[in-house]
Amino acid sequence: MKTRPMMLIAGLCLLLGAIAEAQEPQASPPPDPVVPLRARLLDFSTVLSNEGFRLRDSFWSGRLEAGKPRRLAVNLFAGNSYWFCAAGTPEARPVVALYDPQGEPVTGLVYDGDGLTAVGVTAGATGRYVVEVKAPRGAAADFCLIYLFK
């Protein structure tokens, strides 16, 4: 006779425990490290937009390991001007370089800011170029890249 209430209480405790567990707030996902980088780039791009450059509606992001550059193919048109802008952390500011369809580095304007690097060029030939982003030194770091054209 005594065991039945005991079992009921034990069952109730288990049920309450399960409900409490279910109601426990879920850990929020870690913040996307690219979001602030992209925000900084968009802020920077307004200056270039005022100069008539149009921002491409996308971005390229990832993680840079020391000594392992990341490269992206882009198709450019002769006579157009472009800015390739990459953001990282101030301690691991990415280095940006552009290579022409023959793989030769393209000379242009370079902007070096706080954790942000940008390269401005006018394409001399039409074709497939490669934009390279690398971490100059140190630990792995996130980066984000945008580009504008005129």
Partner: protein, 263 residues
């Protein structure tokens, strides 16, 4: 804006020295990543470059209004891409009414593909910017609209349709750009058609899609045109395309766009 201006004013801007950088090997160039939304330029970049060397009569490239429903989704997707480029052509012609008409057709076709809700607000923005003759904003809005459709397609696991939209946009751009270059007969203008690697990439993307089944015939037909265009672009070996090649590229694309636009 002020913050940005201060940022640039206080930053260091200087001419880079190419001498400090080593060249990339062909293998390194070939191994570069691709991002469908950045590796593929917008038709606005192509048309902007054409405008710098030749001043085409963009309105001369308008098409007659076509259907906004098609027998298959792949055909509808291809035509959605064509319409997007029609929008860029209307922006180049600075023709607000034509932009609005094209914008309505884009939304109608996006609806037919099940992604109309994603771009409804964009359609309104396109009409508003067209009313204000804000051509700068319109180019950005057209790209944003295309990308919204592209992302919605990817979310729906319709990568093949996303690839066909880009294919349609670029083959229509090559049709118009090829014709503009042919008419200008300016080597600087015809050279802008020298994008065989872009064509190869777009072709690769549609080949990667699961083409067997419902999208087979459309993918096959589009692929055939990509092959034709790529063959013409590379026929001069390393020399950029001339006026005759520009005509061939335009004609191949025009035939495809005409066939795909028929209901």
């Amino acid at each position: 804006m002020m913050r940005g201006t201060v940022l640039v004013a206080s930053a260091l801007i200087f001419a880079s020295s190419a001498l400090a950088l080593a060249s990339l090997t062909p293998a390194q160039m070939a191994a570069a990543d691709h991002d469908a939304l950045l590796t593929v330029p917008t038709p606005a970049e192509f048309f902007g470059a054409i405008d710098k060397v030749s001043r085409p009569d963009w309105a001369a490239f308008y098409r007659d209004p076509g259907p906004t429903s098609f027998p298959s989704r792949p055909q509808a997707a291809f035509n959605l891409g064509v319409l997007v480029t029609d929008g860029y052509i209307a922006v180049e012609a600075q023709d607000g009414q034509q932009v609005k008409n094209t914008g309505k057709d884009i939304i109608a076709l996006a609806r037919a593909l099940g992604v109309g809700e994603n771009v409804l607000a964009r359609g309104k923005s396109i009409a508003d910017f067209a009313d204000k003759n804000d051509w700068f904003a319109l180019r950005e809005e057209l790209e944003a609209t295309t990308n919204e459709v592209h992302r919605a397609m990817i979310d729906q696991r319709d990568e093949e349709l996303a690839s066909l939209i880009q294919a349609g946009a670029w083959l229509r751009a090559l049709q118009v750009g090829g014709r503009a270059a042919e008419l200008s007969d300016d080597p600087a203008c015809t050279a802008l058609l020298g994008q065989p690697q872009l064509v190869a990439y777009l072709h690769e993307r549609i080949k990667e899609s699961p083409a067997e089944g419902h999208s087979g015939p459309v993918v096959e037909r589009v692929g055939k045109t990509f092959e034709q265009v790529q063959a013409v672009m590379t026929s001069g070996e390393s020399a950029p395309p001339d006026a005759e090649q520009a005509q061939q590229i335009s004609a191949a694309c025009a035939q495809l766009v005409g066939e795909m636009g028929a209901k």
